[in-house]
């Protein structure tokens, strides 16, 4: 525990960056993901194709490749730190999974809700925003929660590009203290502070949903 005392501020700084990157990426990927989910359920073939390609591309390539692309290639044109490059990559990558969750949520809402709203005079976006999405999100909450847990875990990708996150700081401490084992246990504990309660809460929610069904 002397190691934790000694490097506490370093760990805390890493934890802060991990939280910050996760929150930015959460907000960004919710917006992007919802947008691409809606594209995939419109009647326009072009919009559906674009939505589909976006989701398939970002789901099927490693987060590290996207991160390196922003850090090494994009950053040459637009200056950005490793933290920014990593957070953008994290946002794009996660948005593809969120798009899938939201799309599944939308498809689980009976078509009559959209039809009723359109027949009632609402346009597509009004019906989506006020009637369909609020119901779809409620259905998608457990799956979105799992995506958020993955997002927090995946934020460790920032360590590859000097993103100052928990994993990065942990590697610094490990190299400095030579006590790799204790360092990584502490790093793990910090991650679990965020992910474990969320994970148990989702299990509880899923249990509630099952009881209802």
């Amino acid at each position: 525990m002397t190691l934790l005392d000694h490097y506490f501020s370093v760990f805390l700084q890493g934890f802060g960056h991990t939280l910050l990157a996760s929150l930015y990426a959460l907000v960004g990927s919710l917006i992007l993901g919802t947008f691409f989910a809606i594209m995939q359920v419109t009647t326009s073939k072009v919009a559906r194709a674009i939505g589909n390609i976006y989701v398939q591309v970002f789901r099927n390539i490693p987060l590290l490749i996207i991160t390196l692309f922003f850090y090494l290639a994009v950053a040459k044109v637009i200056k950005m730190t490793g933290f920014t490059a990593g957070t953008i990559a994290l946002t794009l990558y996660t948005s593809a999974f969120i798009a899938e969750s939201v799309r599944a949520g939308i498809l689980s809402i009976e078509a009559g809700q959209m039809e009723g709203a359109r027949a009632n005079g609402l346009n597509f976006w009004q019906a989506m925003r006020v009637i369909v999405l609020p119901q779809a999100f409620r259905v998608a909450i457990p799956s979105l929660g799992n995506q958020f847990i993955n997002l927090v875990k995946n934020s460790s990708i920032l360590a590859f590009v000097g993103g100052l996150d928990l994993m990065y700081q942990g590697n610094l401490v490990a190299a400095n203290s030579f006590d790799t084992f204790t360092t990584y246990i502490i790093v793990g504990a910090f991650y679990l502070i965020i992910t474990l309660p969320l994970s148990y809460y989702i299990q509880y929610l899923e249990g509630q949903l099952k009881k209802k069904a």
Partner: protein
């Protein structure tokens, strides 16, 4: 003045010819009942009128708008043509009064106090004032359908389309819904097109009856003429079948 007019309308689902040479004129204020065996195209026909289904050929004019013209804004038509569905399609995430007030607020930008007042009057009209703050999931089927009618009326439409409004209801609920519909037909200038199997309702309320089978209109007669002396053999057969139920 005609409210709805079909001229040589054709509709296909892939190779399936769903609507065949439809010619039909419905005047403002008329109450028309559309009957026929299941799969005859009644629902498809009624759903083309507010653009939930597109037509492939012919002309369809509703409230002066040409529905086959891609430039026509469907939302403008839907403001004036309400629809009541077999499965109600109430907004599951909104209370009863919010179901009624939502479209007038978003689409007509109706003043909130006025909106509330109209909604309460409509709830009174359908006999469900006490359910204003209930969620749809807590209502019976018959109550849901009366709310769905109130929701359509709140837009002050010129025409109302009913797509088998009582088919999903338990028998003891049907009367209340038909009473509300009868009331609208008798006491307003609403144009009504009703797809239904309720022959007693048709006899009592309709100005005209249209009989469809296999995507075609086979008979279009005044109510008395249709029930007293149907011209089409298939209509005769259909009537004898439903009246034995």
């Amino acid at each position: 003045m005609s409210m709805i007019e079909f001229k040589d309308v054709q509709k296909y689902y892939g190779d399936f010819h769903a609507l065949y040479d439809i010619n039909l004129k419905i005047d403002a204020g008329e109450t028309v009942v559309l009957i026929g065996p299941s799969g005859s195209g009644k629902s498809t026909l009624i759903r083309t009128i507010n653009g939930l289904e597109e037509i492939e050929e012919g002309q369809l004019e509703v409230d002066g708008f040409d529905l086959h013209d891609p430039k026509t804004d469907m939302n403008k038509i839907r403001k004036n043509v309400g629809m009541v569905f077999q499965h109600f399609n109430l907004y599951n995430n909104k209370t009863v009064i919010e179901n009624i007030m939502l479209a007038p607020r978003l689409v007509l930008k109706r003043d909130e106090a006025e909106n509330k007042k109209i909604a309460m009057e409509l709830l009174e009209q359908v006999g469900l004032v006490d359910k204003a703050n209930a969620m749809p999931s807590s209502l019976s089927g018959g109550q849901k359908q009366r709310i769905a009618i109130a929701r359509s009326l709140a837009m002050k439409p010129k025409a109302l389309l009913f797509d088998e409004p009582t088919s999903a209801l338990d028998p003891e609920m049907i009367g209340d819904v038909l009473d509300v519909m009868r009331d609208i037909a008798k006491n307003s200038s609403m144009t009504m097109l009703v797809v239904t199997h309720e022959m007693s309702f048709a006899k009592a309320v309709a100005d005209r009856v249209i009989f469809m089978a296999d995507g075609r209109i086979l008979e279009d007669s005044s109510t008395e003429a249709f029930f007293d002396n149907p011209k089409e053999p298939r209509a005769k057969k259909f009537l004898s079948q439903v009246e034995h139920h």
